[in-house]
Structures are given as structure tokens and as C-alpha cells.
Amino acid sequence: MEIIYTQLFGSILDMLHFKYLLPLLFGTIAGVIGGALPGITITMTIIMVLPFTFGLDPLQGLAAMTGVYVGGSAGGSITASLIGIPGTPSAVATTFDGFPMTRNGEPGRAIWVGVWAAFLGGALGGIFLIASTGPLAAVALEFGPWEYFSLFVFALSMVAGLVGTSITKGLLSGAIGLVITVIGTDPIMGVPRLTLGTDFLRGGFPFLPVLIGIFAFAQLMSDIEKMRRGAGGVAAAGPTPRLWVSQAKVLWEILSRPFLLVWSTLIGVLIGVLPGIGGSAANVMAYDQAKKFSRHPEKFGTGIPEGIIASEASNNANVAGSLVTIMAFGIPGDAVTAVMLGAMTIHGIQPGPLFISQHPAVAYGIYAAYLVSLPLMVLTIAAGSRLWMRVISVPKSILIPIVLVLCVIGAYALNNIMDDVYVLLLFGLAGYAMVKLGIPLAPLILGLILGDQIEVNLVRAIANDPNPWLFITHPISGGLLAASVGSVVLALWQHRRHQQRAGMPEDEDNDF
């Protein structure tokens, strides 16, 4: 154990050399910007950075990519807090409380609570994981199709509790997400399903255009409907937002909630280690947990720091988790680490069980890059804070068209086809309609992320053995399914109690 830390310390010193620090800084800045721009995901940013890394030595290239990953995860929260659109999927839950806080006139607090939570969650997660790579990896390997299926069902059922007004609507939203993934070519045999015979629907609805469409339009159109003709400078109206806050106060806000910080970090780490789920699920789950454990769950969504801390601490801890999975197994946890894996193989490094012993310099170099990029991320955001300030003081009439253009580029660029832009428009309409119908958006997104995985693991389990009882008799799987049922029952019970106390169900629809 001591050797690990000696080695790590040496690698951190190396990382501070100009040779590695420069690409790391460049990557972190690119990540923050890419993460902050709505519609530009971390995946897209890392793909854009990839060509620049070919000419560098392996660790320089991987340092740049690690910087993008860390910077992007934190950068997503800036947009989430300032304009209410998650800059990346992993900042979805940050919008729930970050944006209300900005609306309450505290944009600086919203950003810095997010940044410091990301920093602390990332650092805690990183240190914890460097020490426990082996055991965690062993657990993840034991998960077969039954366990994965039940885990995903559990994740979905938990999100049903996210919804303030109606559990039925929350579950319906999740079901809609699952139904969207069913349309298109089936993941097992490539049979076209529910396509009405069209080529357009054959490839299914790609995740990113759907996500961008639903969130961007739900948000932008809700802004537009409140605009008045001739009102002039709509966004500038109201108190002038200040980004300056006392850093000590913000840090104390986080550190005075150690349980929340550690629990959110733990959720992020665990979800990061399990391949295929990724940060987009971690932040929503951590938010939900924070709400469930809270003494005042009704305050969630009104702009309280707890919501931001849960989301940001978990999504940055998630980065650490994914990095460990890729290093220990050579298995990418998400699209971002898949690109990193590609970069490693291009440089002749095969991550896997032997990685750390065969390439200790590179392996510890990645850990070091990760740890060093956290303070760089904080500095980048601090240095650019005037710029973020300008982003929100731009009149909405200018900002909205530009954001829409970026959404089009984001939808188009990942696959380079116009069809994805049509999907963007379609789900823009759908997202706005859902807001108007009072259906929450978060469960839909989780359903969308997990849908294919749920189906594939279900079919794998059945192909292995058609006996349905195995889902219950496998201990991990059975436990997770019991927990799913418990989660829904608990949410129902909480909801009923809340209604009885309040007398009448309130009707607040703006919970994205």
C-alpha cells in the first residue's frame, strides 16, 4: 500500500513538469468550455481533442484527455446553473437546484457550490479509488445479465421518487424513455421494430439529439413564453447577478454536510465502476438519494445547495470510477472512456489487468493527471468567471438563437447526418409538450439511457436459461429487485403522507 502512494507522489511531481502540465491544462480548458456549451458533450470535446494527441507522447495525450474529462464534468454545471440547460448529460440534476438558485439572484453561489463540490467529490473519489481498484473491480466482474438487469430496474424505480407531484407521471415518463429505445433496429437481431417501414426510424432515435432536444427546448421555450413583445432586454431585467462569493463560505456550506458529500461521492464511484451506466445516471441517482435522506425534501428544486452538491460531487467521482474500470479491465464505462481506450491502443498501450504492472509510469501518470487536473479545473473556472458572467447577461433574444444553432451542430456532428437534426426538432416539440403536461423529464432520460441495456441483459439472461425465477434466486439480483419494489412503495407512502399533511396536492410543473 505504501508503495502505491510513493509511486503516486512521484507521478504527481512529474505531472507538474511543463511537458505534461501544458497538455493537461489545455485539455482542462477545452473540457470546461466544451462541457459548458450546451449541446457539446464531453464525448464530442474528447473526440475533437483526440487528433491533437496523436503527435504527443502517450502520457501527454492521456493527460490532455483526462483534463477534458474532468474539466467537462465540472464545466457542464456552469451552464446548468446559469441558464438551466445541462451542458452535458452528467449535469442534468445540477439544473434542478442550480438554476433556481440563479433565479433567486445567487448565480455565483450556484456555480461555486458546484465547482467545489465537483472538486471535493472528485478528490475524495479519486483517492478512495486509487486504493481500492482491485476489490471494486472484482465486484463489478461478478455482475452477470441477471444482476445488471435488476440494477437498471432499481435505478429507474429510484428515479420515480424524484417527482414531486405524481409518482404515476414519474413512472410514465420512465416508460416513455424505455419505449423510445424500443423504436428502431432491435439490439439483438437487427430486426426493424415499430418503424412504420421508414428508413428514418430504422436507426432508432439517437440518444444525444433526443437529450438535447428535450432539455434545450423545454428550457428555451419556457423562457420564450414568458417574453413580452417590446419588453426589451428581458434577461437583463431583475437584480444584476453577481458571481463573486466568499469561497470560504461556499466551502463551509459543503464541508458542513459531510454525510451528503461522502454518500454522493460513493454513489458516483460505484456507478462509475459499473460499466455502461456513466455519469448521466450517477448525478440523477445521487440527487434522488439526497432528497430521500433529507429532513426537508420539499425544499429540493427551490435552489438549495444540497441538490447541487449531490449532483456535482457524484458526477466527478464518477469520472474517477470510470477511469479505474478502464484501467483495471480495459473496459470503457462510457463513450468518453471508450475514446480514451482508443487513444491508448493507438499509442500501443493495452489497458487491462496487467496494465498497472506493465506500464506503471502511464498508469500512475493517469491517476496523477486526474488529481492535478482538479485544481486546474477550479483555476480555469475562476479565471474565466467574467466570461461566464457575460454568458448570462447577454439578452435572451441573442442567446436563444445562438444556443439553438449550437444544438443543431451538436446533434449533427456526432454522426454527421441530417436525420439527427430532425430528431432534435421532433423531441424539442415533445420536451415542450411534456413540460406543459406536467410530466417530468429526468425519468425519461434515464429510461432512454438504460433502455437498450435493460433489454439486452434481459435477453442474455433468458438465452442463458429461460427460467424467470433466476432473477429472484440470484442473491444480488433478487436483493436489487426487492429494493426496487421498496423504493416505489416508499415513494408512494411519502407522497401520501405529504398529501395528507398539505391537504391538497400542489401543482408545480417546472421541475425539469
Binding site: I47, E142, G190, G203, G330, G342, I346, P353
Partner: protein, 324 residues
């Protein structure tokens, strides 16, 4: 054999260069390429195919003297990108980077786009399949695996992308050895590795990129489906040595939409030859567990034709062929 091969292609290269020069001179139009060329990789960034074309693109760019941009157009087993490439203008500014899925996807009915909708430019690489077993299985060598498979037909689990190359290779083994496996759907090599390390599947088709896991005792290579043993893994026998005529590799190359002007095809082919010969390309392919296997336009066309017939045959035998 390889030396003869290069000699042949060298001559070929000269001829092609001469012909293309003459053609370009003859035509009054502006010289191709005068703007960036889009290379459609029909799978996500970071996948096997992407990893092979990423290092190839800059080399192609060097010899084409024009920017080459990789566009990852993923979805529906590669067929979304295939359709996109087919519908692109036949002007040489859109190049398609397929692998053998073009045959299997057509016969299993995933798409109605066929390899004949394209003109071949060159083949650049070939990745031999290796039968790989989970550490939780008792077999040490092929003979034990075969005996076990005969004793429990249809019970040994194989992770594969159903209807795609990783199933076709194992189906060839089944057929040659007279055994029967149970297929579990795992799309892509990465999820299969996860499942096989955890013992959730017994066997899968993988390749030399997994060598380090074998050395660590986490996986077992049972046999390789190439003509000769691979120097990287000299202890692993070929299926041929074991007495089964099973040779299977996934090959990748470049194609352009049918009807692309002859001069443009020739220019691309010339650049492709030069790029595939670069030592840098050979190096990165060795790291990917892949052999550089170059075929020129004619050779690739013949290869595609033979390969297509083979895929039709296997697809028919597996009962996967879609009636049309």
C-alpha cells in the same frame, strides 16, 4: 510470398500513377482532391474499426495532400453509415471504411445496401479471429473443449454479435467440428470481454489485442483461425493444425460510392497504397493485433466477391438468411 506481393503492387502503383496522370491531364476539370475528404467509419469512435482507421487517416492525408476527416456514423450494426456513404455524391469526397459486416448485414436482412453499391479502392488490414475461453472453464486445449461440447451439445455458451462476424467465425468452428454452441448476444468486443472475465460466457471470438489478459491468466486462447501461427502468440495452435479447415479474419478497406470517376478512384488508390506501406501504419496495426494486408482495386474486388459468396453460404446454413 510477401516480397512478390509488394513487387506486384509496386508495378501496379506505377501503372496506376501513370494512368491517373494521363487521365487527369486529359480532363479539363480541377485536380481531385481540392477540398477535405470525408472518411465514413460506420462505428463509434474508440471501437475496433475506428482504432484501425484513426492511424490510417493521417497517412492517407499525407499521400493525398488533402485533409482527411473521419466521420463516425454509427448505428444498426454499421448499416446507418453504410447507407449514408451509398447516398453520398460519387465524387471521391466521401470514402467508406467498411469491414465484413457488409456481407452479413445484407444476408441477414439488416440492410438492403450491398457491397456492389460501392467501388472498391483497396484493402488494408486483416484481423485473425482467436477462439478465447473464460478462466472459469476447465479446458486447457481444443481437444478437451471439443470433447466437452460433444458431451453437452448446445450448452456451452458463446458471446457474439448475433448475425455478425463474431458469430460467423464461431459458426464455422461449429460446422467443421460437428458441435453445437449456445449463443448469447453481446454486441462488440468490450462487453464480451467483461462477460468472459466474469465467467458469464464460456467462449468468444476475440483477437490478439487481448494478449495481455491471456498472459495474466485471466483468459485462455484456445486456437487461432489463421493459416499460420502468429509470432506474437507462438503457443496458440491454428485450427488448421488441429485438423479443421477454418480460416477466418475480419478485413477492412476503403470503398467509394458506385460511379465515382475512374481518375478519382485511381488517385485514391495510389494514395492508399502509399499510406498502407508506411512503417508507422504497420506498427500501429501490430499493436492492434492486426496484420497489414494490402489488396489493390482488382484484388479487393475479387476478395469481396469470394467473401460475399462465403457469407451467403454460412448465412444459409445458419438459417439466418432473410428471404427477399
Amino acid at each position: 510470398m510477401p516480397s512478390l506481393h509488394t513487387k506486384e503492387t509496386k508495378t501496379m502503383k506505377r501503372i496506376i500513377a501513370a494512368v491517373s496522370c494521363a487521365l487527369v491531364a486529359a480532363s479539363a476539370s480541377a485536380a481531385y482532391p481540392d477540398r477535405p475528404v470525408k472518411l465514413i467509419v460506420p462505428w463509434a469512435a474508440g471501437g475496433d474499426t475506428d482504432n484501425i482507421f484513426r492511424p490510417f487517416a493521417p497517412l492517407l492525408q499525407k499521400h493525398l495532400a488533402q485533409t482527411v476527416v473521419i466521420a463516425n456514423v454509427g448505428g444498426a450494426s454499421g448499416t446507418v453509415g453504410e447507407r449514408e456513404a451509398k447516398n453520398a455524391p460519387a465524387d471521391g469526397y466521401t470514402v467508406f471504411a467498411p469491414h465484413d459486416f457488409v456481407h452479413s448485414a445484407y444476408y441477414t436482412g439488416v440492410t438492403d445496401v450491398r457491397y456492389t453499391d460501392f467501388d472498391p479502392i483497396c484493402m488494408i488490414s486483416s484481423t485473425p479471429s482467436v477462439i478465447t475461453a473464460s478462466p472459469k472453464t476447465p479446458w486447457k486445449a481444443w481437444a478437451q473443449l471439443q470433447a466437452d461440447a460433444k458431451a453437452r451439445p448446445g450448452q456451452i455458451t458463446v458471446g457474439a454479435s448475433l448475425g455478425s462476424t463474431s458469430q460467423f467465425s464461431m459458426a464455422l468452428v461449429e460446422k467443421a467440428a460437428g458441435i453445437k454452441f449456445k449463443y448469447i448476444p453481446y454486441d462488440g468486443l468490450a462487453p464480451r470481454m467483461n462477460a468472459i472475465l466474469g465467467g458469464h460466457i464460456d467462449l468468444t471470438d476475440s483477437n490478439l489485442t487481448q494478449k495481455s489478459k491471456v498472459q495474466a491468466g485471466l483468459l485462455k486462447f484456445i486456437a487461432i483461425m489463421s493459416e499460420k501461427r502468429n509470432p506474437e502468440i507462438p503457443d496458440v495452435p491454428t485450427m488448421k493444425e488441429l485438423g479443421f479447415n477454418v480460416v477466418y479474419a475480419v478485413s477492412r478497406g476503403l470503398m467509394v460510392p458506385k460511379g465515382t470517376p475512374e481518375a478519382v478512384q485511381a488517385t485514391l488508390a495510389t494514395a492508399c497504397v502509399a499510406a498502407a506501406k508506411e512503417p508507422a501504419f504497420a506498427n500501429s496495426m501490430t499493436l492492434q493485433g492486426t496484420e497489414v494486408r494490402f489488396l489493390d482495386r482488382k484484388g479487393y474486388a475479387q476478395f469481396l466477391k469470394d467473401n460475399d459468396a462465403l457469407y451467403k453460404e454460412i448465412s444459409d446454413e445458419l438459417g439466418l438468411t432473410k428471404k427477399r
